[in-house]
């Protein structure tokens, strides 16, 4: 039985929907929302037809940059971003893990040069579902469960 849920409507800001269950906490950290002084609303374990359970984050007076959306795609690959202006949804789009990722992620290979010298990390996206990345430098391929954000 699907239940209706109600969270505060926001006038201006962003609604991030279809976050995997429990990953909303990662989204808070990723977007630095724990330091945010505006209203942040969190929904954890909401019913979802497609995902079973999902999380949702609403944040007032904040629009996401492209880099933030790329980062978001790494922890919530199916997320939808709704932009709200004057209480109206002005745009809705799905995040997409970019083909190439610069920075953002730490290479999980402890022998990689990026872990020993100042080298900005670079990755190629090998697969989106399941998410699989390959380090441009050491060629090590890894899945989302090994992924560590910078």
């Amino acid at each position: 039985m699907m239940r209706e849920y109600k969270v505060y409507r926001i006038e201006n800001g962003t609604v991030i929907d279809h976050i995997p269950h429990w990953n909303s906490l990662k989204v808070l950290d990723l977007l630095g929302l724990r330091q945010c002084h505006d209203l942040v609303t969190l929904g954890i374990g909401l019913d979802s037809k497609d995902m079973g359970r999902k999380d949702l984050v609403k944040v007032e007076n904040r629009e996401l940059s492209e880099e933030e959306m790329d980062k978001l795609a790494l922890v919530a690959p199916q997320a939808t971003i709704n932009l709200i202006r004057n209480s109206e949804r002005t745009s809705k789009h799905k995040v997409r893990v970019p083909d190439h990722i610069r920075g953002l992620v730490r290479c999980p290979n402890s022998g990689c040069i990026t872990r020993h010298e100042y080298v900005p990390t670079r990755f190629d996206t090998i697969s989106r579902d399941p998410l699989e990345l390959r380090c441009y430098y050491c060629n090590v391929q890894f899945r989302s469960d090994e992924l560590e954000l910078l």
Binding site: N109, C112, I113, E117, V119, C135, Y136, Y137, C138, N139
Partner: protein, 297 residues
Amino acid sequence: MLKNRSLVSIRDLTRAEIEQVLDTAQKLENHRGRHLEHRQVALLFYEASTRTRNSFLTAVHQLGGTEAGFSSGEGSSVAKGESLHDTIKMFSAYCDAIVLRHPRDGAARWAADISDVPIINAGDGKNQHPTQTLLDLYAIRSTQGRIENLSIGIMGDLKYGRTVHSLVDALSLYPGVQLHCISPESLALPQSYGPHQIHHRLEDVIPQVDILYCTRIQRERLPDEAEYEKVRGIYRLSASHLHNARTHMRILHPLPRVDEIHPDVDATPHAYYFQQAAGGVAVRKALLYLLIAQGEA
């Protein structure tokens, strides 16, 4: 055209470019010339190396060039803690090409991104060793007359062995190559390297292959001593294993060997690892010529 390009991974080369290197190596095998006269090649070896370093050194000298650099980082700024970045920046200002061996995976790609002169990867951690692969391919072609449609066994440490990873990548460019991998489960070839048959017994593979590529279990790359003890000496090829080998089958090894090939194999017609290593000078001459001097008088 390979001129002024870096060679970091065997994947940087097309099949046609690989063939160009092998053909040039064949032409330069007994050749001494002045193609690198007034040219300096930096040999930056952060890790110990006998064959790779000396074959590059010989190749530079046989083409009339001079060398700079260091071996194992001793007596250089590296010992004082200089970063790879700064060392590469400096040597790329002094030299016409840099041959780099480094213990960290991906070091050569990083070096190629910041260097103004070609970088030749002479081994980066457990990642890639493309010049070894070129000389492996040179040995395969010299002994079998072709590379495509061969049945090739690869034995030993297939998980951490960079020579194995580079060779498997290169062989994927040749149609009809059947790959037989022989290793303990803990040292199996990562699945990302494409289709291959998996074996645990060496005896099952010997009659089926044209080339048997043996590798050392690398103590220095295993996570700890306990892991090494579990797998050390697991495969020991001796002359008695070879009674049902194909007549033209040849045994290759990137060397150094420890105990994976018994010395009694050396006297059999199947042993080819010393000739394989000797081919390293011709292949490295070919590379230096193509990357630095090609097209010049």
